[in-house]
């Protein structure tokens, strides 16, 4: 009983979220999609109330909730939209919101790189392919018939519940006595004898500058030089493989 009193509050947004995703899924029968949207909003609001920090930077928290709610709502609409073109556009919105979260995490270079890679290249390519796929007429309405929506979302929300319960066990989500600072041993701490490379540490005059090009570049090409070379090799192999797999244009239209 004690466990349910402490942790049972998390079950409400989880159940509401599952109901929202299940109701929003496209289906043959008419489902009350408005009800699903309301349930999803209620789940997000309850979650936000449990997350509300007692005090802090108002602008920062406001921006965080804006980007977090934007990314989660856009992701839910992306996986439940009937039209795959709209899904790709919702995914672009998810990417923009995630880049906002990157900015809040003091990672401006990463935000710019993600926008360039995703919104610049992948979304355009995906829209290209989606339009190619829809111009010749599709066989069946496969976008209106998802596979096992109730059971899949139930299993996925059980996974989310497990993650949140673990976080609550180690942190203090929704506890009224949430202290502002981490307790020792709350998360894994770096062993003291593990000395970091002094070149890849943030500069001494601004110790919170961790996302700038200078610090990132020194860490990438100092600590992770071998991994960078491996990543380059993987990119080269993927390029060769994509050229080898892609169908030839001489066989006709795509």
């Amino acid at each position: 009983m004690e466990w349910t009193e402490e942790n049972g509050l998390l079950l409400i947004p989880l159940g509401l979220g599952w109901l929202a995703v299940w109701l929003l899924m496209p289906s043959e029968r008419k489902r009350p999609r408005i009800l699903g949207g309301l349930a999803g909003l209620a789940a997000i609001l309850i979650m936000q109330m449990m997350l509300l920090p007692p005090a802090g930077d108002f602008v920062r928290n406001g921006l965080f909730f804006l980007f977090a709610a934007g990314s989660v709502i856009s992701a839910a609409l992306m996986i439940t939209d009937r039209n795959p073109v709209y899904s790709a556009l919702w995914f672009a919105l998810v990417t923009l919101s995630v880049c906002g979260l990157f900015l809040l995490n003091s990672a401006p270079f990463l935000a710019a790189a993600t926008i360039i890679v995703y919104a610049g290249a992948i979304i355009v390519t995906f829209l290209f392919v989606i339009m190619l796929a829809q111009q010749s007429g599709t066989i069946g309405n496969y976008d209106q018939q998802p596979l096992q929506p109730a059971m899949a979302s139930l299993g996925a929300f059980i996974l989310l519940g497990a993650l949140l319960f673990t976080l609550q066990e180690w942190g203090h989500i929704g506890r009224p006595d949430a202290s502002q600072h981490a307790m020792p041993g709350q998360f894994i701490t770096v062993p003291a004898e593990l000395q970091p490379n002094p070149l890849s540490q943030p500069p001494a005059d601004n110790p919170h500058e961790i996302g700038s090009l200078r610090v990132l570049g020194r860490s990438l090409f100092g600590d992770y030089l071998f991994a960078v070379e491996l990543a380059g090799t993987v990119l080269l192999i993927a390029t060769i493989g994509a050229i080898a797999i892609a169908p030839r244009r001489s066989q006709g239209t795509l």
């Binding site: 990157f102 990672a107 190619l132 018939q145 596979l147 899949a152 943030p202 192999i237 993927a238 390029t239």
Partner: protein, 152 residues
């Protein structure tokens, strides 16, 4: 520049929850959608959730290693998108459709199709020009008369 103090544990947990939610929504999309491109987009959504976690931990610990790992995630996502798109294009050329259920049957054309009452059934168009390898059906060994080996 405004004072960016060290991240509180509450702020870190908020970011971890957003990352976990994005990951789970990606899992749902990966499992339920039948469009091949949307399946790939859902995989990218899962990578976004992981990237939020990595940058949040990077800020929490005050070192750039989480962001370096996010750059590697970005690299792998680009590789995956390129390879996946070329695979999807070549699959689309075979069936002229992006439905993933058309690829649920990997057996030969004369074998029965697995059907489930909860799954929607699809009619797989048979490509008359396709040449697939044909294996002899498995089963018990047919009884044969012992014969003398033929000379070749």
């Amino acid at each position: 520049m405004t004072q960016v103090s060290e991240m509180t544990a509450t702020a870190l947990e908020s970011q971890l929850i957003v990352g976990a939610t994005l990951f789970v929504l990606g899992v749902i999309g990966f499992l339920t959608r039948r469009n091949l491109i949307l399946i790939m987009l859902s995989a990218e959504l899962m990578l976004h959730g992981v990237s939020i976690n990595l940058t949040a931990f990077s800020r929490y610990h005050g070192n750039p290693q989480g962001q370096v790992f996010t750059i590697f995630v970005l690299t792998i996502a680009a590789c995956e998108a390129g390879l996946g798109l070329s695979l999807i294009l070549s699959l689309y050329q075979r069936r002229k459709s992006l439905d993933v259920l058309l690829w649920g049957k990997l057996g030969e054309d004369d074998l029965p199709v697995f059907t489930s009452p909860s799954n929607p059934t699809v009619n797989v168009p048979v490509d008359p020009n396709a040449e697939y390898p044909h294996l002899s059906p498995s089963g018990r060994m047919p009884k044969t008369q012992p014969t003398t080996p033929t000379k070749t």
